[in-house]
Amino acid sequence: MMGLTVLCLGVALVPLGSILYSVAVQGGSVINVDFFTQTQPAPCSPNPITTCTQGGIGQALVGTLLLLSLSCLIAIPLGILTGIYLAEYGKGPLVHGVRFFADVMTGLPSIVFGMFVYAAFLIVFPGRVFSALAGVLALALLVLPFVARTTEESLRLVPNGLREAALALGLPKYKVTGRIVLSSARDGVVTGAILAMGRVGGETAPLIMTAFGNIYMSTRLDQPIGAMSLLIFYNAASPYANWNALAWGAALILALMMLGLSIAVRILLRRRFRERRIGA
């Protein structure tokens, strides 16, 4: 039986290794300074007459940063507030319902949120359906339930004795929650926020019909905007070799970003556990 299960593990690790290898090799061959500063090049495949310009993903980098920062700016505070409500006022059917649907929402396909924003803009802003603002709203919808649940879980880990001690000292409940409990759970909450940002940075489907993608550099909220995930999606399926190369490079940068975020999360978690062990 050991052999069979190890075989299963191997079956899972082969595609993982293949993906990491392809992204590293194919993506690495196209990374240079131009890659980060230039925008989409003219389409071109290797031919004996002209050389192809490599171009870059500058507009997509800017787009991803803009979309991520604005959507997290909207959704993370709202999500933390929801998480506080779920953890601190944890009784009653309303709380159970919100908790259940927050869990369910984290499992829904992200394209549904994009379609919702698309459909909403069709009704409300028909001229601005494909815009950075729509993309921001779609991503915020993804971040909100995720941050709410992770915040609630972090707050629940704070021992009740801390709350009781603070209340016994005469602090009102909102100060107990806001100052004592929240700062005690700070690492967990920040971890949840970083995880949410990492998850949303790679999202493509909700951006297809909202942010739409843009081969030119743009930071306007009312115009379509590029994003790294969109760039990979469109360029991978294109027949031009220099566009395909850009897709691999963007995939490498995206993977490095995910890795960086995951390492940051691990460091934060380890620091929290180390402090706990010392204090215990």
Binding site: M1, L9, A12, F116, A119, A120, L144, A148, F233
Partner: protein, 322 residues
């Protein structure tokens, strides 16, 4: 006076610290944030229904059974995509669940303690890769491998079955199913592993003391006990497979029809949205939004069912992250 309560001050009995307005504000504020979440869910159903109303009015319930999707004649039906979703998810589960269970058993029962943690982390890495990178790898590595090696082999060995007949493109339902299988492995393996770890040690010891072999002890003592947790993991994997969009869109070939062969291109409920929504208008856009509504309701039900199953095993506070 035994306690230092203020006497005669209004509200002293109710809240000796005196800050009622802050508490009420905080309670209402955070409660409002929570209600926003519920309101959003209702808003999603409302808005999608409003925009899909034109298509619902034209096609009615026959939409779900109609296998023709033709923008040129304004005929739209959801059957090709329901078929594509069911077939690709079935392939994904058939291939992915046994592998995930094998990994879960290895990580929970058989692996030496020193390599358990790093191996678990490595399996979780599969979940951290964005879907679009899976699709990119799928286009340049998986599809050529399927087209040149796997599909012809299947056709030569099992070609008498109608599902393995027909031209081989590489892009098709089978390739999409394979990518889905890879993508649900981390989810199903992680939750199954948690379910197996939650089984008390006494179960294994009891089976072993009755003379069972290692495999028998795992099968009788552990797997049976963890049955509902594993079932919840499978349902969560199914939900993930149903909703997976981008990787599937990039390898499924984008054909809006039903074919009897697994090698044929097709579309799922989510991939047809990704491929067609940018250029759609009028009735086609309304039909696509109706598809989105169907997808939303189906995945809502599946995910709700899965969460209930997982909650029953781990309690309400387990598994905050899917």
């Amino acid at each position: 006076m035994a306690f230092p309560f203020r006497r005669g001050a209004r509200g002293a009995r109710r809240n000796p610290t005196g800050s009622t307005w802050g508490d009420t504000l905080f309670h209402l504020g955070s409660g409002a944030a929570a209600i926003v979440l519920l309101a959003l869910l209702g808003l999603i159903v409302l808005v999608l229904s409003l925009d899909a109303a034109q298509s619902i009015g034209v096609f009615g319930f026959g939409f779900l059974g109609n296998r023709i999707w033709d923008p040129n004649t304004d005929q739209f039906g959801a059957l090709p995509f329901i078929y594509g979703t069911l077939v690709t998810s079935a392939i994904g589960l058939l291939l992915g669940v046994p592998v995930s269970l094998g990994i879960a058993i290895f990580l929970a029962e058989l692996a030496p303690a020193s390599i358990r943690a790093p191996l678990t982390y490595v399996v979780e890495l599969l979940a951290a890769i964005p879907s679009v990178v899976y699709g990119l790898w799928g286009i340049f590595v998986l599809v050529p491998a399927m087209a040149n090696v796997v599909d012809p082999a299947l056709q030569s060995v099992l070609g008498f079955l109608p599902i393995f007949q027909g031209p081989v493109y590489g892009y098709g339902l089978l390739s999409a199913g394979v990518i889905l299988a890879i993508m649900i492995i981390p989810t199903v393996a992680a939750i199954s592993r948690d379910a197996l770890l939650a089984v008390p040690q006494s179960q294994r010891e009891a089976a072993l003391s009755l003379g069972a072999t290692r495999w028998e002890s795992t099968r009788m003592g552990v797997l049976r006990y963890a049955r509902s947790g594993i079932f919840g993991a499978i349902i969560l994997g199914l939900g993930r497979a149903f909703g997976e969009t981008i990787a599937v869109t990039m390898v499924i070939g984008n054909a809006n029809e039903i074919s009897g062969s697994l090698f044929a291109p097709g579309n799922t409920l989510s991939s047809v949205l990704a491929s067609n929504i940018r250029e759609a208008f009028g009735l086609q856009a309304s039909a696509l939004i109706e598809l989105a509504l169907v997808l939303f309701l189906v995945t809502l039900v599946i995910n709700a069912f899965a969460r209930i199953m997982v909650w029953r095993v781990f309690g309400e506070r387990g598994e905050a992250v899917s």
